[in-house]
Symmetry: C2
Subunit: 123 residues, 2 copies
């Protein structure tokens, strides 16, 4: 629900990439990648079930898991929290910060301009 831990979010990412997944598929997707034992993956899945972040159930012939919260919702709460804590909730200072630290790529700049243009248009 509220707090998806870092390790747990890896499981969520796998399910957001492809849904639904079986226990085995989840392990295949994240186990090796993170160096986790199958038991560890199981624990994380169990905790996510308890948190109502995912659901598990039999569908047809096999038992599979599905995310109950969307990635967008998760991203929203995570990024909003950071924004509030670090930049008083204002987006521009955040971008300014990245600009100062040379973390604004040319690609970012181009996309930002396009984004702003789009917003201006249907304003």
């Amino acid at each position: 629900m509220q707090t998806i831990s870092d390790a747990e979010s890896r499981i969520m990412e796998a399910l957001w990439r492809k849904t639904p997944l079986s226990a085995e598929q989840i392990f295949a997707a994240v186990g090796a990648e993170n160096g986790w034992a199958p038991a560890t993956v199981k624990t994380l899945v169990t905790r996510l079930l308890k948190k109502k972040a995912i659901s598990g159930g039999k569908e047809g012939d096999s038992y599979v898991y599905r995310p109950l919260i969307t990635r967008a919702a998760w991203v929203q709460s995570e990024s909003q929290g950071m924004l509030d804590k670090l930049f008083k909730g204002e987006v521009a200072p955040l971008v300014a910060h990245f600009a100062e630290h040379r973390k604004l790529s040319a690609k970012d700049l181009k996309q930002l301009k396009a984004l702003i243009a789009r917003i201006e248009e249907d304003k």
Copy 2:
């Protein structure tokens, strides 16, 4: 050093607002605001000392604390971590996310345009 916890960051914020501060002043600044007992504030200060995030020492007549890391450095590591985790390190998608969720204020928009213009200028 690396990991300044949430509670600890409140202490840091106080020291970044005004430096140096005595133990008493730190408590005055953050204790009431967060509902912390003096002992709790002391623990947090101690942990920050151990982490080399602040320094403490006698200056003139009283004992005071100073931050050893800058707010900018902290903001950088925090925001970069979030950016990498949530948006593959790209700033534009982050802004796009906020735009979609109607979290982009008119003020933000104006500042962003100004910011981009400034960057373009001395490119």
